[in-house]
Protein backbone atom coordinates (compact mmCIF):
# COMPACT_ATOMS: atom_id res chain seq x y z
CA UNK A 1 0.00 0.00 0.00
CA UNK A 2 1.44 3.43 -0.90
CA UNK A 3 1.23 6.81 0.88
CA UNK A 4 -2.16 7.50 -0.68
CA UNK A 5 -3.59 4.31 0.77
CA UNK A 6 -3.77 2.69 -2.66
CA UNK A 7 -2.79 -0.93 -3.11
CA UNK A 8 0.05 -1.36 -5.55
CA UNK A 9 0.85 -4.17 -7.92
CA UNK A 10 4.21 -4.92 -9.45
CA UNK A 11 3.65 -5.90 -13.04
CA UNK A 12 5.92 -7.64 -15.49
CA UNK A 13 4.98 -6.14 -18.85
CA UNK A 14 5.59 -7.98 -22.12
CA UNK A 15 4.01 -8.45 -25.51
CA UNK A 16 3.22 -11.45 -27.64
CA UNK A 17 2.07 -11.05 -31.24
CA UNK A 18 1.73 -7.26 -30.85
CA UNK A 19 -0.68 -7.68 -27.92
CA UNK A 20 0.47 -6.22 -24.60
CA UNK A 21 0.17 -8.20 -21.39
CA UNK A 22 1.01 -7.78 -17.74
CA UNK A 23 1.43 -10.34 -14.98
CA UNK A 24 1.87 -9.88 -11.25
CA UNK A 25 5.61 -10.23 -10.67
CA UNK A 26 4.84 -12.07 -7.40
CA UNK A 27 3.72 -14.99 -9.57
CA UNK A 28 7.13 -15.15 -11.24
CA UNK A 29 9.71 -17.46 -9.65
CA UNK A 30 12.30 -17.10 -12.39
CA UNK A 31 13.04 -15.74 -15.86
CA UNK A 32 15.36 -17.45 -18.34
CA UNK A 33 16.13 -17.14 -22.03
CA UNK A 34 14.42 -19.82 -24.10
CA UNK A 35 16.98 -22.36 -25.32
CA UNK A 36 14.69 -24.31 -27.61
CA UNK A 37 13.94 -26.93 -25.00
CA UNK A 38 10.73 -28.97 -25.07
CA UNK A 39 9.25 -30.17 -21.81
CA UNK A 40 5.87 -31.22 -20.49
CA UNK A 41 5.71 -28.31 -18.07
CA UNK A 42 6.64 -25.70 -20.71
CA UNK A 43 3.89 -23.93 -22.64
CA UNK A 44 3.83 -21.26 -25.35
CA UNK A 45 1.93 -18.21 -24.14
CA UNK A 46 -0.18 -17.90 -27.29
CA UNK A 47 -1.37 -21.49 -26.88
CA UNK A 48 -2.23 -20.89 -23.24
CA UNK A 49 -4.23 -17.77 -24.12
CA UNK A 50 -6.09 -19.16 -27.12
CA UNK A 51 -4.75 -16.95 -29.90
CA UNK A 52 -6.60 -19.26 -32.27
CA UNK A 53 -5.55 -19.19 -35.90
CA UNK A 54 -3.49 -16.02 -35.49
CA UNK A 55 0.12 -16.52 -36.56
CA UNK A 56 2.43 -15.54 -33.72
CA UNK A 57 6.12 -14.90 -34.19
CA UNK A 58 8.30 -14.75 -31.08
CA UNK A 59 11.16 -12.27 -31.45
CA UNK A 60 12.79 -12.73 -28.05
CA UNK A 61 11.26 -15.80 -26.41
CA UNK A 62 11.74 -15.92 -22.67
CA UNK A 63 10.78 -18.63 -20.21
CA UNK A 64 8.90 -17.48 -17.14
CA UNK A 65 8.66 -19.97 -14.31
CA UNK A 66 5.42 -19.49 -12.45
CA UNK A 67 5.36 -19.74 -8.68
CA UNK A 68 2.72 -22.38 -8.02
CA UNK A 69 1.29 -22.93 -4.53
CA UNK A 70 1.55 -26.73 -4.71
CA UNK A 71 5.05 -26.78 -6.26
CA UNK A 72 3.47 -27.93 -9.51
CA UNK A 73 5.92 -27.12 -12.34
CA UNK A 74 4.51 -24.54 -14.73
CA UNK A 75 6.62 -22.58 -17.19
CA UNK A 76 5.41 -20.29 -19.96
CA UNK A 77 7.29 -18.91 -22.95
CA UNK A 78 6.55 -15.21 -23.37
CA UNK A 79 8.02 -12.63 -25.74
CA UNK A 80 9.46 -9.11 -25.64
CA UNK A 81 9.71 -8.30 -21.95
CA UNK A 82 9.28 -4.55 -21.71
CA UNK A 83 9.25 -3.39 -18.13
CA UNK A 84 8.57 -4.15 -14.52
CA UNK A 85 6.35 -1.39 -13.23
CA UNK A 86 4.47 -0.67 -10.02
CA UNK A 87 0.94 0.43 -10.63
CA UNK A 88 -1.93 1.43 -8.35
CA UNK A 89 -4.74 -1.11 -8.41
CA UNK A 90 -7.16 1.80 -8.78
CA UNK A 91 -5.89 2.29 -12.31
CA UNK A 92 -6.96 -1.21 -13.38
CA UNK A 93 -10.15 -1.35 -15.41
CA UNK A 94 -12.32 -4.47 -15.37
CA UNK A 95 -13.23 -5.96 -18.74
CA UNK A 96 -16.53 -4.73 -20.19
CA UNK A 97 -19.36 -7.10 -19.19
CA UNK A 98 -19.74 -8.55 -22.71
CA UNK A 99 -16.13 -9.67 -22.83
CA UNK A 100 -15.42 -10.51 -19.23
CA UNK A 101 -16.69 -14.14 -19.19
CA UNK A 102 -14.48 -15.00 -22.20
CA UNK A 103 -11.49 -13.13 -20.80
CA UNK A 104 -11.69 -14.66 -17.31
CA UNK A 105 -11.80 -18.14 -18.82
CA UNK A 106 -8.30 -17.48 -20.14
CA UNK A 107 -6.98 -15.83 -17.01
CA UNK A 108 -7.37 -12.24 -18.22
CA UNK A 109 -8.88 -10.27 -15.36
CA UNK A 110 -8.33 -6.59 -16.09
CA UNK A 111 -7.05 -3.94 -18.44
CA UNK A 112 -4.51 -1.22 -17.85
CA UNK A 113 -3.93 1.79 -20.06
CA UNK A 114 -0.20 2.47 -20.27
CA UNK A 115 0.97 5.30 -22.51
CA UNK A 116 -2.04 4.86 -24.76
CA UNK A 117 -1.53 1.10 -25.02
CA UNK A 118 -4.03 -1.40 -23.74
CA UNK A 119 -2.34 -3.93 -21.44
CA UNK A 120 -4.26 -7.11 -20.66
CA UNK A 121 -3.59 -8.39 -17.14
CA UNK A 122 -3.12 -12.14 -16.91
CA UNK A 123 -3.31 -14.27 -13.79
CA UNK A 124 -1.47 -17.53 -14.35
CA UNK A 125 -3.09 -19.00 -11.25
CA UNK A 126 -6.48 -18.63 -12.95
CA UNK A 127 -5.13 -20.36 -16.08
CA UNK A 128 -3.67 -23.15 -14.00
CA UNK A 129 -6.91 -23.55 -12.06
CA UNK A 130 -8.89 -23.72 -15.32
CA UNK A 131 -6.45 -26.28 -16.77
CA UNK A 132 -6.69 -28.40 -13.64
CA UNK A 133 -10.51 -28.24 -13.76
CA UNK A 134 -10.54 -29.23 -17.46
CA UNK A 135 -8.16 -32.16 -16.94
CA UNK A 136 -10.22 -33.27 -13.91
CA UNK A 137 -13.36 -33.17 -16.08
CA UNK A 138 -11.64 -35.18 -18.82
CA UNK A 139 -10.33 -37.62 -16.21
CA UNK A 140 -13.85 -38.02 -14.86
CA UNK A 141 -15.18 -38.76 -18.35
CA UNK A 142 -12.78 -41.62 -18.88
Amino acid sequence: MNDLGETGLNLLLFSVGEVHFGIDSEQVAGINAFQGEDAGDLFWFHNEMGFGDATVTYLLPTVVTIRCPDEQPYRVIIDLMEDIREIATDSILPFPPLLEPFALRKGMWGVLLVEGKMVLLVDFMRILREKTAVSARHGGDE
Partner: protein, 188 residues
Amino acid sequence: MAAIFYIPPEHNRGESMASSDEQLKSELILDELKRRQRAKEIVDVEEEKVKVVIFVCGGNRYAFYGADIREILPSCEISWVPCLPGYLPGLINIRGDIESVIDISHFLGEEASGHKTCLIAMAVKGDFHSGIMIDSIEDVVDIPLSTVKPPLATLNGAVRDLVIGEIEHLGRTIALLDIGKLAGLIAL
Protein backbone atom coordinates in the same frame (compact mmCIF):
# COMPACT_ATOMS: atom_id res chain seq x y z
CA MET B 1 -86.62 71.91 -32.22
CA ALA B 2 -88.56 68.75 -31.67
CA ALA B 3 -86.59 65.57 -30.83
CA ILE B 4 -87.15 62.47 -32.96
CA PHE B 5 -87.43 59.18 -31.10
CA TYR B 6 -87.56 55.85 -32.90
CA ILE B 7 -89.63 53.29 -31.22
CA PRO B 8 -89.70 49.94 -33.05
CA PRO B 9 -93.05 48.40 -33.59
CA GLU B 10 -94.14 45.80 -31.05
CA HIS B 11 -94.10 42.94 -33.50
CA ASN B 12 -90.62 43.82 -34.80
CA ARG B 13 -89.19 44.07 -31.30
CA GLY B 14 -89.92 40.38 -30.65
CA GLU B 15 -88.14 39.23 -33.86
CA SER B 16 -84.97 41.28 -33.48
CA MET B 17 -84.31 40.41 -29.82
CA ALA B 18 -83.18 36.83 -29.16
CA SER B 19 -85.17 34.81 -26.75
CA SER B 20 -83.34 33.51 -23.67
CA ASP B 21 -82.80 30.01 -25.13
CA GLU B 22 -81.71 31.30 -28.54
CA GLN B 23 -77.95 31.75 -29.16
CA LEU B 24 -76.70 35.26 -29.58
CA LYS B 25 -74.95 36.18 -32.77
CA SER B 26 -71.79 36.90 -30.79
CA GLU B 27 -72.04 33.49 -29.21
CA LEU B 28 -72.38 31.88 -32.61
CA ILE B 29 -69.37 33.79 -33.93
CA LEU B 30 -67.33 33.00 -30.83
CA ASP B 31 -68.26 29.34 -31.01
CA GLU B 32 -67.26 29.21 -34.64
CA LEU B 33 -63.96 30.94 -33.90
CA LYS B 34 -63.21 28.46 -31.12
CA ARG B 35 -64.17 25.52 -33.31
CA ARG B 36 -61.80 26.73 -36.01
CA GLN B 37 -59.09 27.31 -33.41
CA ARG B 38 -59.50 23.77 -32.07
CA ALA B 39 -59.34 22.36 -35.59
CA LYS B 40 -56.17 24.37 -36.20
CA GLU B 41 -54.65 23.08 -32.97
CA ILE B 42 -55.36 19.53 -34.05
CA VAL B 43 -53.64 20.22 -37.35
CA ASP B 44 -50.76 21.94 -35.62
CA VAL B 45 -50.04 19.03 -33.24
CA GLU B 46 -46.92 17.40 -34.59
CA GLU B 47 -47.03 13.76 -35.29
CA GLU B 48 -44.81 11.84 -32.86
CA LYS B 49 -41.41 11.40 -34.41
CA VAL B 50 -38.45 9.16 -33.73
CA LYS B 51 -34.83 9.70 -34.60
CA VAL B 52 -33.17 6.94 -36.57
CA VAL B 53 -29.52 6.46 -37.46
CA ILE B 54 -29.15 4.94 -40.91
CA PHE B 55 -25.86 3.16 -41.49
CA VAL B 56 -24.14 0.93 -44.00
CA CYS B 57 -22.83 -2.52 -43.15
CA GLY B 58 -21.45 -4.83 -45.80
CA GLY B 59 -22.96 -2.76 -48.61
CA ASN B 60 -26.51 -2.79 -47.21
CA ARG B 61 -28.36 -0.12 -45.26
CA TYR B 62 -29.77 -0.65 -41.79
CA ALA B 63 -31.02 1.65 -39.04
CA PHE B 64 -31.00 1.91 -35.26
CA TYR B 65 -33.25 4.06 -33.11
CA GLY B 66 -31.27 7.23 -32.45
CA ALA B 67 -32.16 7.05 -28.75
CA ASP B 68 -30.07 3.87 -28.48
CA ILE B 69 -26.95 5.39 -30.06
CA ARG B 70 -24.97 7.60 -27.68
CA GLU B 71 -22.29 8.70 -30.12
CA ILE B 72 -20.43 7.82 -33.29
CA LEU B 73 -16.69 7.35 -32.93
CA PRO B 74 -14.67 7.86 -36.09
CA SER B 75 -11.47 5.91 -36.76
CA CYS B 76 -11.44 3.94 -33.55
CA GLU B 77 -8.58 1.49 -33.13
CA ILE B 78 -9.71 -1.88 -31.87
CA SER B 79 -7.34 -3.72 -29.54
CA TRP B 80 -7.58 -7.41 -30.23
CA VAL B 81 -8.07 -9.71 -27.26
CA PRO B 82 -7.31 -13.43 -27.53
CA CYS B 83 -9.95 -16.12 -27.07
CA LEU B 84 -12.96 -13.98 -28.00
CA PRO B 85 -15.66 -15.21 -30.40
CA GLY B 86 -15.58 -13.78 -33.92
CA TYR B 87 -18.38 -11.29 -33.26
CA LEU B 88 -16.35 -9.63 -30.49
CA PRO B 89 -13.26 -8.19 -32.20
CA GLY B 90 -11.85 -6.59 -29.05
CA LEU B 91 -11.70 -3.44 -26.97
CA ILE B 92 -11.71 0.28 -27.68
CA ASN B 93 -10.47 3.12 -25.53
CA ILE B 94 -13.00 5.92 -25.20
CA ARG B 95 -11.48 8.83 -23.33
CA GLY B 96 -9.88 6.51 -20.77
CA ASP B 97 -12.78 4.09 -20.49
CA ILE B 98 -12.69 0.76 -22.22
CA GLU B 99 -15.64 -0.67 -24.09
CA SER B 100 -16.36 -3.86 -25.95
CA VAL B 101 -16.95 -3.86 -29.70
CA ILE B 102 -19.46 -6.00 -31.59
CA ASP B 103 -18.99 -6.88 -35.23
CA ILE B 104 -22.64 -6.66 -36.26
CA SER B 105 -21.89 -8.01 -39.75
CA HIS B 106 -21.68 -11.44 -38.08
CA PHE B 107 -25.37 -11.19 -37.10
CA LEU B 108 -26.53 -9.61 -40.35
CA GLY B 109 -24.96 -12.25 -42.55
CA GLU B 110 -22.76 -9.60 -44.12
CA GLU B 111 -19.11 -9.96 -44.95
CA ALA B 112 -16.88 -8.80 -42.09
CA SER B 113 -14.84 -5.71 -42.92
CA GLY B 114 -11.74 -7.08 -41.15
CA HIS B 115 -10.43 -3.57 -40.61
CA LYS B 116 -8.50 -2.86 -37.43
CA THR B 117 -9.77 0.71 -37.51
CA CYS B 118 -13.38 1.52 -38.30
CA LEU B 119 -16.42 3.59 -37.44
CA ILE B 120 -18.01 2.67 -34.12
CA ALA B 121 -21.56 3.44 -33.04
CA MET B 122 -21.73 3.47 -29.22
CA ALA B 123 -24.96 1.73 -28.30
CA VAL B 124 -26.54 2.08 -24.86
CA LYS B 125 -29.81 0.47 -23.88
CA GLY B 126 -30.55 -0.28 -20.24
CA ASP B 127 -27.58 -2.15 -18.78
CA PHE B 128 -26.26 -2.99 -22.23
CA HIS B 129 -23.50 -0.81 -23.63
CA SER B 130 -21.05 -1.60 -26.38
CA GLY B 131 -19.49 -0.23 -29.51
CA ILE B 132 -20.88 -1.58 -32.78
CA MET B 133 -18.69 -1.72 -35.88
CA ILE B 134 -20.28 -0.12 -38.93
CA ASP B 135 -18.94 0.79 -42.37
CA SER B 136 -20.39 4.31 -42.58
CA ILE B 137 -23.23 6.56 -41.45
CA GLU B 138 -25.73 7.29 -44.20
CA ASP B 139 -28.07 9.69 -42.41
CA VAL B 140 -29.61 10.67 -39.08
CA VAL B 141 -33.27 11.58 -39.58
CA ASP B 142 -36.46 12.22 -37.64
CA ILE B 143 -39.29 10.15 -39.04
CA PRO B 144 -42.95 9.94 -37.99
CA LEU B 145 -43.43 7.00 -35.65
CA SER B 146 -46.38 5.90 -37.76
CA THR B 147 -44.06 5.27 -40.73
CA VAL B 148 -42.23 2.50 -38.84
CA LYS B 149 -43.83 -0.60 -40.28
CA PRO B 150 -43.70 -4.02 -38.67
CA PRO B 151 -41.06 -6.30 -40.19
CA LEU B 152 -42.15 -8.47 -43.06
CA ALA B 153 -43.28 -11.87 -41.89
CA THR B 154 -41.47 -13.34 -44.86
CA LEU B 155 -38.18 -11.77 -43.80
CA ASN B 156 -35.57 -14.45 -43.53
CA GLY B 157 -31.89 -14.83 -42.97
CA ALA B 158 -29.77 -13.75 -40.05
CA VAL B 159 -31.25 -10.25 -39.96
CA ARG B 160 -34.68 -11.57 -38.88
CA ASP B 161 -33.48 -12.00 -35.27
CA LEU B 162 -32.54 -8.34 -34.99
CA VAL B 163 -35.25 -6.48 -36.89
CA ILE B 164 -37.91 -4.53 -35.00
CA GLY B 165 -39.46 -2.81 -38.02
CA GLU B 166 -38.99 -1.34 -41.45
CA ILE B 167 -38.73 2.25 -42.58
CA GLU B 168 -38.68 3.99 -45.95
CA HIS B 169 -35.78 6.31 -46.69
CA LEU B 170 -35.10 7.90 -50.08
CA GLY B 171 -37.22 5.26 -51.77
CA ARG B 172 -35.49 2.37 -50.08
CA THR B 173 -36.85 -0.01 -47.48
CA ILE B 174 -34.46 -0.21 -44.56
CA ALA B 175 -34.48 -2.74 -41.74
CA LEU B 176 -34.72 -1.05 -38.34
CA LEU B 177 -32.61 -3.06 -35.89
CA ASP B 178 -33.21 -3.41 -32.17
CA ILE B 179 -30.25 -2.99 -29.83
CA GLY B 180 -32.16 -4.96 -27.18
CA LYS B 181 -32.46 -7.93 -29.55
CA LEU B 182 -28.74 -7.69 -30.32
CA ALA B 183 -27.96 -7.72 -26.60
CA GLY B 184 -30.22 -10.75 -26.20
CA LEU B 185 -28.46 -12.63 -29.01
CA ILE B 186 -25.06 -12.03 -27.46
CA ALA B 187 -26.21 -13.05 -24.00
CA LEU B 188 -27.33 -16.43 -25.40
